[in-house]
Amino acid sequence: MISTKSRTRAFLGAVAATAMAAAMPTASAADVSFAGQTVDFTIPFSETGGSARWAQFYAPLLSEHLPGNPTVVVRYRPGGGSTTGANWFQDNQQLNDGTQIFGTSGSTQFPYLLGDPRVRYEYQDWIPLLGSGVGGVAYLSGDLADKWDGTGDNLQDEFFMYGSQGATSLDLVALLAFKLIGLDVEPIFGVEGRGDGRLMFERGETNLDYQTTPAYISNVQPMVDQGLAVPLFAWGSLDDDGNIVRDPTFPDIPSFAEVCEANSVCDTDSLGFEAWQAFFTAGFPAQKLIYLPGTASDEVVEAYREGLRDLMARDDFTEISEAALGIYPQLIDNGARNAHRLATTISPEAKQYVLDWLEEDYQITLD
């Protein structure tokens, strides 16, 4: 368990460091007021995606809980699979008065982890404020139900098709998971969203798919009830120590780590699994993060943290966030810092492993 241990150690180190930081006298947020100001909440995506929905959910709530109730406007800077907007944020770090915040997603983290040539941004320059996670469930066609015993060992001779948005998108997590447990999967690339992938599954054009939690519950569960689909595994969640545990939304569905343990070719100590875990974390439990520019003053940072603490402490938060965010923890303070750390670090070996796999299996290179 070398890899998992080293990640856990890094995680505990981070906890210790932040605990010490918390013990020191912190800057006071009391003097900061955003009254009459406009906060630009920029996301590197267009108006139509999941990130827009997430940002539109948070914008009015931030406005309500920040001192002075500034107007919070969501601004869109799409392009380059979100690298254009992130590069823009990197170039606009000088604004230190808290009127500029930036929201990333897994699609921003992945190119950074892979060393995509378009990436000119540096996550470690930014100050993380909030982390939002989500889960996902992989499922296969109902006619293969008999061959699924929780390990995938009986599926080695089957041939799978999977509708994919691209091997370097969030689908990387799914494709790598299938590879690790030895499934023979041919991805059908060029699918425009997970919804279209699901439709291909429903039409019988593919026989393997995954959906994020809200879509799984509303669209796949009915198929499972009718025997048309069988859940394989949920990606899982991270506990406070950084271990992969079952997704709290799906306590009856094993996590991918459990399936990997039970499977005869997959090994949770392998480099492959370490790489999977890095991308899984950046793509799911720490999918969306809100950042302030690195130059923001301590008072401004503290004002935001306090506002977010107030927001999370609202009695009705679970209720109002359920439809927009699902029932996943919204991480603030240390939780956000840890999510940021885990979502933006990868060992050079694990990175090389993924790059080699992408080139070998899909002829995809990043230069």
Partner: protein
Amino acid sequence: MDLIATALPALEQAIYLILQPEQIMYLIVGILLGLSVGILPGLGGIAGLSLVLPFVYGMDPVSGLALMVGLVAVIPTSDTFSSVLMGIPGSTASQATVLDGFPLTRKGQAARALSAAFISSLFGGIIGAIILTFFIFIARPVILAFNIPAMLMVIVLGLSMVAILAGRVPLKGVVAAGLGLLAGTIGTAGAGGSLRIASYDYPYLVDGLQLVIIGLGIYAIPEIVSLLRQDKSISRDGKLGEGWMTGLQDWWQNKWLSARCSILGVLIGTIPGLGGSVVDWIAYGFTVQTAKDKSQFGSGDIRGVIGPESSNNAKEGGGLVPTLIFGIPGSGSMAIFIGGLALLGYEAGPHMVRNNLDITYTIVWSLALANVFGAGLCILLSGQIAKITTIRFALIAPYLFMIITFAAFQSSMRLGDLIALVAIGCLGIFLRRFDYSRPAFLIGFVLSYRAENYANQVYQIAGSRFRRSFEMGMDYIATPLTMTLLAITLLSIVVGIRQSKNIRENANVYTATKTAPALFLAALTGYTAYAVFDASGITRTGDKIFPIIVGLITLLACSALIVKMFMKPATDPVFMDLEAGGDDGNADHGLWGTLMWLVSLVVLSSLAGFVIGATLFLIGFFKYRARLSWLWSLIAAAAGIGFILFLASSLGRDFPPGLLQAYVSLPWPLR
């Protein structure tokens, strides 16, 4: 019956919910907002919806729905204004309307064209709602029958419309469509991410060209420049001919055509993944093919307005089906709509139709009601708004330049957007001048991405099935649905080729020397050859096969044209050059001098930022081109800048920054 037993109470509940005064008020607010945003060329439903989303959170669900639905419903209605009045396709939904709507305007029949378009929209919207009310129960199996081969066939059917729109010299239509398809492949490949034409050193093209910029460049800029050169009003004789009542009568005479196109619109709109991009072209093609007298199409036949406009509002209703029962957005504005539903606490999906049927019907019928209000209002306004076509165009053009530049910049907020706009604008000017079908180019561009993706996917899926057994493969690709679509496509091509000479933008042939048309063709051939060469350097087969095949076919058509140019005399239509005569040839102002005004706006913006640049541009234009007095120039410029500032601040948009802004920190809006 079970169906009626479930549907009727929910329908009653929905009507009760909609007809509350408060909901009607929100619906009207949404409609008014939608009309104000949609009337501006290049800004559509997405800009409008993101404007209201911040307010939707926390609203009571039915009011929030009314606001959003009101907005979505009128976008394909209001963007008709710019299509008909200026020849600028307001959004994908109104591209085909330009073909006959704008020529009618030039003849002074703007009010007639507008009111016919709006009554068709209204009718289409209602037909859409009626069909949806029942279709929603049986839609699931119908939608699932559209597998990828079937969707590919619908795309091919859309492409086959090129045959009918190819223009006087069909080969030129093929070249234009091929170039459109190639333009659509620029940037990262959908499947493997290989770069085509683009390079990471110049990141702008990596994302490909945006539809807004192509639409404005190919249509808006050539038309604005051409009108401006003649220094008249849009209506050729400066008068308004037939009024809006005539348009209503026109529609009544073609009510069955309108009904057929509406049904077509709902059905095609229902198929997820097509996003309504083909609906108006297919409706236009259908209208032409079923018409008896085809001589006026392309130069101002009212049926060419009624057909596509009946289908595009019905399509919005159809687009609700995949949105609501599969949770899959049929278009960009539907994607935001789903997001808005989530803010109101509803998750789109099969259970929404089952458990919240009343809410579902509220959406469907709010859409119909919004269509009635929106289109009704537009009909009443059309007589007044049509008067804009009698104003001296030099007073309108600078505002248009400013708005399209602003709209183009919204697609990726980079200076590259403005450069691309000018570059595509030049291409558009040449395509128009040498009589290459611009609709064919646009169809190619719009359908390129999907044509490539679906073709690759079908190849992959069918391939793996054929490897297992021949029957499995045939079962997949040769379904009755795909075969029917194939038959319709073949029929449409045959009918189209036979009739294409009747449908043309320019009635008269003007030719001058062989040199200019030959040089332009050489440039197009050179680009195509380069695109093929560029694609052949890609290692990943799936990413290069489409541009190579399309490029080779285009090259073949180019070669055939070159041969034709050698064989024919300089008076042959193949050497058509609008500069040789007619409106353009006899215009008061030169082509390049006029285009320079737009270039000056872009250059000034890139130096001093958009607001300062546009201010200087407007003052300069009004003073030196429109020849107003200093006082009036300043007033007119101030009005324009005030408007764009108001627009940007209420939509929450930024302006293009220039070189100045890189050195000096300025407050909004100068930032």
